[in-house]
């Protein structure tokens, strides 16, 4: 059988997904047996122009990580889409927008202001911002456009599969690769993860009645080792997050932060977490409720930490 042709790309993301692909350990040998990597900027020296020359649909699958932040991200996403038979949004940034997507609470101007003027370590009295084009003696230089809004991969090009996680755990990665290698492809649009249920399903902690009188941040308490973290007042996102990760964080005493995205069938993860949480606040007194809720740090960033661009909200409206 001819070897598969695989491309990997890194758009607006931290780079953790690149490392996560290597987490598959010795299975990488199986991958090497079955596939050739035709494009992977972080590891293989192939230029964009080389990709441009490849015939359309000549790549079997592209594992695309990162959100669409700049015109460059968009350009390469479209290019790779054209060249690849299967486009896989790999990791939370490509799938839902993730941390880069939190920038959608602001716009370009606000972000530039913060990054190039306001930060304490910046000295920029003339308020010089990055320009898309700049004339230098040698000619005109051009850098990609920085968009106002971060988009997910699927909001930019047609996507075949999604692998959730920030970054995806080894099991999820291998599930996707194995499907490719063995040609046992799930229906288009599938979110490839070992679980369709929420993290709670994999979490060994004991669950009893959920009633919350006070929310704590992880540094404020030492949680009991066997009891559900949410029941102890930690904002554990496990109830509203797709499992498949093996409930790693709660088992290490850290509340789930929601990186695997919504449970199968749910459209807006943040809204579901929010309505579930608000239903277990243990008070009927509006003032007390307000007090309890005030303990939630950075609510927008907490509920939409990984999913703002993919959510029903998509971004903040800035007037």
């Amino acid at each position: 059988m001819a070897k598969l042709k695989v491309a990997l790309y890194w758009a607006a993301s931290c780079g953790g997904c690149e490392i996560a692909t290597l987490q598959i350990g010795e299975k990488i040998l199986k991958l090497a047996e079955a596939a050739d990597i035709v494009f992977w900027p972080v590891a293989v020296d192939v230029k964009y122009a080389d990709v441009g020359k490849m015939p359309d649909k000549s790549i079997d699958a592209c594992l695309f990580n990162g959100a669409i932040r700049t015109s460059e991200n968009e350009h390469i996403a479209k290019l790779l889409r054209a060249k690849s038979k299967l486009m896989i949004a790999y990791g939370s940034c490509a799938y839902e927008g993730c941390i880069p997507g939190l920038a959608n609470f602001y716009n370009r101007q606000m972000i530039f202001n913060r990054a190039y003027v306001e930060t304490p370590s910046t000295d920029n009295p003339k308020k010089i911002y990055p320009q898309m084009r700049v004339k230098v003696p040698e000619g005109e230089l051009e850098i990609p456009e920085f968009y106002d809004t971060v988009k997910t991969l699927a909001q930019t090009v047609d996507v075949d599969y999604f692998v959730p996680g920030c970054p995806p755990e080894e099991k999820s990665t291998w599930l996707a690769l194995e499907a490719l290698i063995e040609g046992k492809l799930p229906p288009k649009g599938t979110v490839i993860s070992p679980s369709t249920k929420a993290v709670c399903d994999e979490c060994p902690r004991k669950k009893e009645e959920k009633k919350i009188k006070k929310f704590y941040r992880p540094y404020e308490i030492i949680p009991e080792p066997e009891k559900c973290l949410l029941e102890q007042g930690l904002l554990c996102y496990g109830i509203a997050t797709r499992g498949g990760c093996g409930a790693l964080c709660p088992q290490a005493n850290m509340p789930c932060t929601g990186c695997y995205g919504p449970v199968e069938g749910v459209i807006d993860q943040g809204a579901h977490f929010l309505s579930a949480l608000s239903s277990i606040i243990d008070s009927n007194d509006p003032e007390e409720i307000q007090k309890i809720v005030n303990d939630i740090p950075d609510p927008a960033g907490t509920f939409y930490r990984y999913s703002l661009p993919a959510s029903l909200l998509r971004r903040a409206r800035i007037k």
Binding site: K197, A198, K207, I239, V263, V266, I280
Partner: protein
């Protein structure tokens, strides 16, 4: 899948809808919508011929979905579901569009209203496409009844049901049943003795084999729903041994600690251990732990009652160790009869209640004229003299923007009753200040007529203030009632010895809490809300819970008793049917998605959800009889694992999309 064939019917509702909405145009438009086989408009869809249209079309045109655009679904959704069922379809293959309350009644612009009606119809048509047949099931109804409140209303309801040999739990918060009627002396308009007609009923209740009387108790929690309510009652500690107390009252005689008697409205004292009144049912002593020196000193002081109680019903044990008991039981229906509070007139400072000794409330005056009361039935001033003149002030706290806007309905009549009693017992002059004389009941107008001939001075007008500041010798040492005589058109000052304030009847101070416990609503005036003011006056919006007597608003004893009997009849009719039809639009769990997080379990107000073990993990399970379809679980489930029949995402989204397309 079978072909979807939808019939659409636009109701004219006389001119209620057709006056604003062009029904013909809407019907024509509906006919152009996908899957609509027939669309008609008709004068009154809810009439028999209107319903027959639907049935005929189902049979002749093979409809399998029906939409009626008419009034509120609250009104006629059940009617058309029934028509659809009679036509041979499952009743849930029906959708209702409200083009009256939501459209014709609230808009004037005919064109826009017609467009809106089209939108609403289009949304309903799109939604009904996705409707699924649902199965309606029957479940047994627990024949036991809970009655809350042992006033005349609660007692009457309890007796009616118990006489039909069904078990009643009667919960009364005070140490004895009787309620306000027990405090009344003579009752208008017949002036028969309140006590004499009430005490036989009280002992019937106390002795009835089918009534379990839980006096000095309060309902703490109610869960479940019609047919199967679970009730938790706190039976407060009396600090005596109920099985031994013979009600001899020696303890009260010997107890040295006194406070104002609640029953005597502060006109007499009671002790730290007491029996509220001579005919109390149950006839048992009760210890006031806030007054009892033995309890307060943890057994170091007093203890008189312990020594004198021959029956050994009061012991150090009962005083120091007895605690409240929690009693739990199940019932199928609930009657609430918690009565009223008397409005506290001291909140109207210019009436001087609480400031002047001889300004009394109605209930205080009732105690005064009662032969068994604190003055032995004599009308006396604080200093022991008989009054030479008395003023009676109507509408204190009633019909007053600042307090209660409503009329308390009994004050005119009891005011007249007092005028008569004062004339008869004290031979004093009577000045009766009224705004309007409202004498609407049987024999009431005749009673008023009789009083007009007894030499009472009727002054039509609102009292501005009651003061002891004399402007003349004649006024010295008197209470001066200042008001406008609106018939003469002048300000009058009437010096009197005593003033009786006809205080309003108001909602119980704990009504809000009760409303929460029983999941019923209150009106703006604080009283409990009936399901329909005219057509369902003793039911509440919560199935299986009924209200009787003054907890629903002020009323006299005849109306209270009639209502109590009505609630009993309602409960008995449910009991005789024996089953309830369960809601079909309930929630269901997709076990392939449920992670067993448990959010839903604690949330369900009807305890319908249980997390059950499945392969070493847990999944949510819905009890189909208990679920009322409120949707709380579905909205909260963070996984979207619980959905509602008849409110699926598909159905709702189709409706919303159609509305905005």
């Amino acid at each position: 899948m079978e072909e979807i064939r939808i019939g659409v019917y636009i109701c004219q509702c006389g001119l209620n809808i057709a006056g604003v909405v062009n029904v013909e145009e809407v019907a024509k438009y509906a006919g152009t919508l996908p899957n609509v086989v027939v669309s008609r408009h008709y004068r009154y869809m809810c009439s028999d011929p209107g319903q027959d249209l639907i049935k005929k079309d189902i049979q002749e045109l093979g409809l399998n979905r029906v939409v009626v655009a008419a009034c509120s679904p609250k009104m006629h959704e059940p009617t058309f579901r029934k028509a659809v069922e009679d036509g041979g379809l499952n009743p849930y293959l029906y959708e209702h569009a409200n083009i009256r309350e939501h459209c014709s009644w609230v808009h004037d612009d005919k064109k826009l209203a017609t467009n809106k009606a089209k939108d609403l119809v289009r949304a309903a048509v799109r939604r009904v496409y996705y409707h699924e047949p649902l199965v309606i099931k029957e479940a047994p109804l627990n024949p036991n009844v809970l009655v809350v409140g042992g006033g005349i209303a609660g007692m009457q309801a309890a007796l009616d049901i118990a006489n039909g040999q069904h078990k009643v739990y009667l919960v009364e918060k005070d140490p004895s049943i009787g309620g306000h009627m027990m405090q009344l002396d003579r009752t208008f308009p017949t002036l028969d003795c309140s006590e004499c007609i009430l005490t036989p009923k009280m002992s019937d209740v106390g002795r009835h084999p089918f009534i379990e009387l839980l006096a000095y108790s309060e309902v703490e929690e109610v869960s479940g729903s019609i047919g199967n309510f679970k009730v938790k009652v706190r039976k407060k500690a009396r600090h005596i041994d109920e099985s031994k107390c013979i009600g001899c009252n020696v303890c009260e005689e010997k107890c040295p600690w006194k406070t104002d008697s609640e029953f005597e409205m502060g006109l007499a004292k009671r002790k730290a251990v007491y029996i509220p009144f001579a005919q109390a049912v149950p006839h048992l002593a009760v210890v006031d732990p806030n007054l009892c020196a033995y309890i307060k000193s943890d057994g170091k002081k007093c203890g008189a009652c312990i020594k004198f109680c021959e029956a050994q019903a009061i012991t150090p044990e009962t005083l120091l160790k007895q605690t409240d008991q929690i009693i739990e039981f199940d019932v199928g229906t609930i009657i609430i009869a918690t009565g009223y509070d008397q409005f506290d007139p001291s909140v109207i400072p210019h009436y001087g209640y609480g400031k002047y000794d001889n300004v009394l409330t109605g209930l205080q005056f009732e105690r005064m004229t009662c032969a068994a009361g604190p003055t032995g039935g004599k009308i006396l001033l604080k200093d022991g003299r008989e009054p030479e003149s008395v003023a009676i002030v109507h509408c204190v706290g009633s019909r007053d923007q600042n307090y209660h806007e409503y009329c308390s309905r009994v004050c005119c009549m009891y005011g007249l009753k007092y005028a008569h009693l004062i004339k008869e017992l004290a031979k004093a002059d009577v000045y009766e200040f009224y705004i309007d004389m409202r004498c609407f009941g049987e024999g009431y107008e005749e009673f008023y007529k009789r009083l007009s001939e007894e030499g009472v001075n009727f002054i039509r007008g609102k009292v501005a203030k009651i003061t002891d500041e004399a402007l003349s010798d004649e006024e010295k040492g008197k209470l001066i009632v200042v008001g406008e005589d609106t018939l003469l058109g002048k300000i009058v000052r009437v010096p009197v010895d005593m003033v009786i304030l006809c205080s309003a009847l108001e909602a119980r101070s704990d009504a809000e809490n009760l409303a929460k416990i029983f999941n019923i609503n209150r009106r703006a005036d604080g009283f409990f809300l009936e399901r329909h003011i005219k057509l369902d006056p003793v039911a509440t919006p919560t199935d299986g819970i009924f209200i009787a007597g003054c907890c629903e608003g002020p009323r006299d004893i005849p109306d209270t008793v009639a209502q109590a009997e009505a609630t009993a009849a309602k409960a008995l009719s449910l009991i005789s049917k024996g089953t309830i039809t369960t809601e079909a639009a309930i929630s269901y769990v997709d076990e392939t998605i449920c992670s067993g997080c448990g959010i839903c379990e604690a949330l369900c107000p009807f305890q319908a959800i249980e997390l059950q073990p499945r392969d070493g993990k847990r999944v949510s399970h819905v009890n189909e009889v208990a679920c009322k379809g409120c949707g709380a679980c579905s909205a909260a489930c963070p996984s979207g694992a619980i959905a509602m029949h008849h409110f699926t995402n598909e159905q709702i989204l189709a409706q919303v999309e159609a509305l905005f397309s």
